[in-house]
């Protein structure tokens, strides 16, 4: 194992701590609970699910606030996951950094779109 701390720390490496792992676990648990919440509302709605039932789930302000939180949690979760994939398989630093930048651009753009959809409802 080559030295990769101190002055030789790899800028595109992990941050050698619990933070990302714990963050990914916590966001996973939050998203799992959110999935069950949306699923429960679909299962317990009466009659066939049309536009009104579906949009109704996200129409209340508390549900919008919660969904917004889940979108942010998703962005962090995916960032850690994709960064792990790049760190495992992509060794050239310039390529790894490029893919990490692409991941961030992709995620922030998707996040902005999702939040816009949510709050113009």
């Amino acid at each position: 194992m080559s030295v990769n701390f101190g002055a030789k720390r790899l800028a595109v490496g992990a941050h050698y701590g619990l933070r990302d792992w714990l963050g990914q676990s916590v966001t996973a648990a939050l998203m799992a609970l959110f999935t069950l919440l949306v699923l429960a509302q679909l299962v317990f709605s009466k009659g066939p699910i049309g536009y009104d039932q579906w949009a109704g789930i996200f129409s209340s302000q508390w549900m919008k606030a919660l969904t917004f939180t889940i979108i942010i949690a998703l962005l962090f979760h995916v960032w850690v996951g994709m960064r792990n994939i790049w760190m495992d398989y992509i060794k050239p630093v310039w390529l790894r950094l490029s893919l990490q930048v692409f991941t961030i651009v992709w995620l922030v753009a998707c996040g902005g779109w999702a939040i816009q959809v949510l709050w113009r409802l």
């Binding site: 030789k8 800028a11 996973a28 799992a32 579906w54 994939i85 630093v93 310039w94 959809v117």
Partner: protein, 165 residues
């Protein structure tokens, strides 16, 4: 710092020469360098937990790449009744010159990816919490359960998606 990282990548340190401890009469040990993805990896017998692990990664990457499509579905299904009809038409009639069946297949891939990622993720979380779950037996049985549940539920939801019931 980044410039330094590039430098160390381009100019890795040479390994130190063998010391006198490793004398001549010792047989040369076999050296295993990078394994070949096509020649070596295919001969590995991956345990079921290994399949769950790599599928967890693949399903996550699929959802990452299809994220714009997921948000497009969220957008069109929720914005208005007119867009809701557009959403349904994409899967029933087709969109962008592609038949609806193809879009249903993309949706089915996403359904599988979400189910597998969800169940395999719960398995991970449970292993993080429970010390009793950290053993070979649980690793194998929970891997079987994960694969059975995710594939089974994908079939059930896929049958509904394609109108089999």
């Amino acid at each position: 710092m980044a410039a330094y990282a590039v430098f160390t990548y381009l100019h890795p340190r040479k390994p130190k020469k063998m010391t006198e401890l490793a004398s001549k009469q010792r047989p040369k040990r076999p050296e295993f360098r990078n394994i070949n993805a096509f020649k070596d990896l295919t001969t590995y017998r991956l345990p079921l937990a290994g399949f769950v692990s790599i599928l967890h990664r693949i399903s996550g990457a699929i959802m990452f790449l299809l994220m714009p499509f997921i948000i497009w579905m969220f957008d069109t299904s929720i914005s208005s009744e007119i867009s809701f009809e557009k959403f349904k038409a994409a899967f029933n009639v087709g969109m962008l010159g592609l038949p609806g069946v193809l879009w249903k297949l993309v949706a089915l891939a996403l359904i599988w990816a979400y189910l597998h990622h969800f169940i395999a993720g719960l398995r991970h979380l449970w292993m993080d919490i429970s010390h009793a779950a950290i053993n070979l037996q649980f690793g194998k049985s929970s891997a079987i359960a994960t694969l059975a549940l995710s594939i089974g539920l994908t079939f059930v939801l896929g049958a509904k998606l394609f109108g089999l019931y």
